[in-house]
């Protein structure tokens, strides 16, 4: 199993009040799977993705990704874990505005210590593969929403991570672009065998033949 979560809980304190963003959640995800996480806003989808990506730690329970126990890891270990195992796609694309598409895709490789020349070559090849060869020198503001999200996906998969986490990747796109992005991720999943966990509140995009986790009030329900 790529992901094993056993009774993970994440609590946020809002003043004296305790908010259970995730309550005793258990799940398993196989390597190479394409998993949807659905549910209403505030249901805990982002919290689950942040925990899976090592950007946050559970308050209770056990969580391991690719054999790495996240709940006990130090800050430095989590940085290495994210660098080597995780790719992120966020709702608002989150490309660095002052960098070109090519440079944005180079970033995870630079974080890994790969030489700029090699990182540039890899990034250009991947953008070409995703149909963005003519847009490599463009800055995010010069790209459409769909193009920006494709660049963000390229940035997420450039390091061949074990797991790509996409938090509402289509939230800022129209239906046609949203479907194209989901299709692109599914194609990459099939082609590269990279595991994808995609959070979305848009049920129309969910392929019910895949593993679907529904999150409501911090409780995970597998359907």
């Amino acid at each position: 199993m790529l992901v094993i979560a056993e009774k993970i809980t994440r609590i946020y304190n809002r003043g004296q009040e305790k908010i259970y963003a995730l309550r005793d959640g258990s799940l398993q995800i196989q390597a190479g799977a394409f998993v949807y996480v659905t549910g209403p806003s505030g249901g805990g989808k982002s919290t689950l993705l942040h925990l899976l990506g090592g950007m946050d730690r559970p308050d209770a329970g056990h969580l391991s990704v690719n054999g790495f126990a996240l709940e006990k890891a130090s800050e430095e270990q989590l940085t290495h874990f994210r660098r080597d195992n995780i790719g992120f796609v966020f709702q608002f694309f989150n490309l660095i505005s002052s960098l070109s598409a090519l440079e944005n895709v180079m970033l995870p490789q630079i974080a890994r210590g790969i030489r700029a020349r090699e990182a540039q070559k890899n990034a250009a090849a991947l953008l070409d593969q995703l149909g963005l060869a003519s847009r490599v020198r463009h800055r995010p503001a010069e790209l459409s929403g769909g193009e920006q999200q494709r660049v963000a996906i390229a940035r997420a998969i450039i390091g061949s991570p074990a797991l790509v986490l996409a938090d509402e990747p289509t939230g800022d796109l129209d239906q046609a672009n949203a479907e194209a992005i989901i299709k692109l991720m599914r194609d990459l999943n099939a082609e590269l065998r990279i595991t994808f966990v995609v959070a979305t509140h848009n049920k129309a995009l969910v392929d019910t033949n895949s593993q679907v986790l529904e999150l409501r009030d911090g409780v995970i329900k597998e359907s």
Binding site: T47, H50, G53, M55, D56, E75, E76, T79, R82, R83, D84, I86, G87, F88, F90, F92, N94, I96, S98, L99, E103, M106, L107, P108, I110, A111, R112, A116, R155, A156, G159
Partner: protein, 375 residues
């Protein structure tokens, strides 16, 4: 590295007006540091060039005003007897506080042969007085009063011409000097000199010589013998205090770098909280992002450093040319030395680093998810 440099530069250019504002603020702080350091250096110049500790002064005891002191002719013989083993040179002198062209100054006189070796006057322009109506004036005083070689000064109703300009190591001797014969004629002196300078031989113990002179039966009880240092102590102390004050002020001014950087970095980290969260999310460590911020800060402080250095250089040049500064009549030469520039660079780098650390400390204690909520 090139990418980081480019990113830093573009980040600075992204909000050009704010970057320029920060740059101007920091440059003024750097310029203040250099001007105050140069001022401290100018004070230091006079202190470093004051090497008077081996001179003794013999003057009548219990005289209310030293100008009223009288030196009996027999007194001179006492230190002369100690030459050459213990005493190198003996120089009797006279002085008067007098109004010269509307300025109250000390007029001094001694054997012109003693002016350089005993009183450490060094000629910077013209020639030492060779005629009865010639005088030598301190270069600083002359600059302050716009006197030149050839200027005629009215002293005690008699015109005198400046034949030479000199520089003295301490404020004490910065005045007008004339040969003793001219002085005697000017004031119709009946008596002789007022006090005696005794230059102690290099190999002798100055304190032992001082004690020997003071206890000599011909001087004991009637004359005091003390170190020249005591004589000039007040001025020297004032110079020392002003130097310290300038040095402290220059360092305090430079602390402005910390606050300037703190503000600039805090503002930009708050604005870029989400982007930083994303960078951390894709695998950059907090340390590497701190380095990136440091690089950005360095670009800013280096620019501010060179602009500040240029401002200080222009200011000191203009100050010298149009509004020269004086202390006790001594001209203060504001000079930014290479050592000062190097020290400034080192301090700017260290303080910039400190300001960055201070401003990112709280920010980096936040979790990534908290940063991602900053949008």
């Amino acid at each position: 590295m090139l990418l980081a440099l480019r990113l830093s530069l573009e980040d600075l250019l992204r909000d050009l007006s704010r970057t320029l504002l920060s740059l101007v603020g920091l440059a003024l702080v750097v310029a203040s540091y250099f001007i105050l350091s140069a001022l401290s250096g100018a004070f230091g110049y006079y202190l470093e060039n004051t090497d008077l500790s081996r001179n003794l002064i013999v003057i009548e005891k219990d005289v209310y005003d030293p100008a009223d002191a009288i030196l009996e002719p027999g007194v001179i013989a006492v230190p002369v007897e100690l030459m050459p083993g213990k005493v190198k040179r003996v120089s009797p002198f006279v002085f008067r506080h007098t109004n010269i062209n509307g300025v109250v100054m000390i007029l001094r006189s001694a054997d012109p042969a003693d002016w350089e070796p005993v009183y450490h006057l060094s000629l910077v322009n013209g020639a030492w007085p060779g005629k009865a109506d010639e005088i030598a004036a301190d270069a600083g005083y002359s600059l302050a009063n716009q006197w030149k070689i050839g200027s005629v000064l009215n002293i005690f109703g008699t015109p005198f011409r400046i034949s030479g300009l000199y520089r003295a190591p301490s404020a004490t001797f910065s005045s007008i000097w004339m040969p003793f014969s001219s002085f005697r004629d000017l004031f119709s002196l009946k008596g002789g000199y007022q006090a005696l300078y005794v230059q102690v031989a290099a190999e002798a113990d100055p304190e032992a010589v001082r004690a020997q002179l003071e206890n000599d039966p011909r001087l004991a009880g009637k004359y005091a013998v003390y170190f020249e240092e005591n004589y000039v102590q007040r001025n020297t102390q004032a110079l020392k205090e002003m130097r310290s004050l300038s040095a402290i002020s220059s360092l305090v001014a430079l602390l402005g770098i910390v606050f300037g950087i703190f503000n600039a970095v805090v503002l930009s980290t708050v604005e870029r909280g989400y982007e930083i969260g994303v960078l951390l999310g894709i695998g950059f460590s907090k340390q590497s992002i701190r380095w990136f911020m440091l690089l950005r800060v360095f670009m800013l402080v280096f620019m501010a450093y060179f602009v500040g250095l240029a401002i200080a250089g222009i200011y000191s040049t203009c100050q010298q040319a149009f509004f020269p500064l004086f202390i006790f009549g001594l001209p203060l030469n504001l000079q930014i030395t290479p050592l000062m520039a190097l020290n400034g660079l080192g301090l700017v780098v260290v303080l910039g680093m400190f300001g960055t650390w201070l401003s990112t400390r709280r920010f980096f204690s936040l979790r990534i998810v908290e940063l991602l909520r900053e949008r």
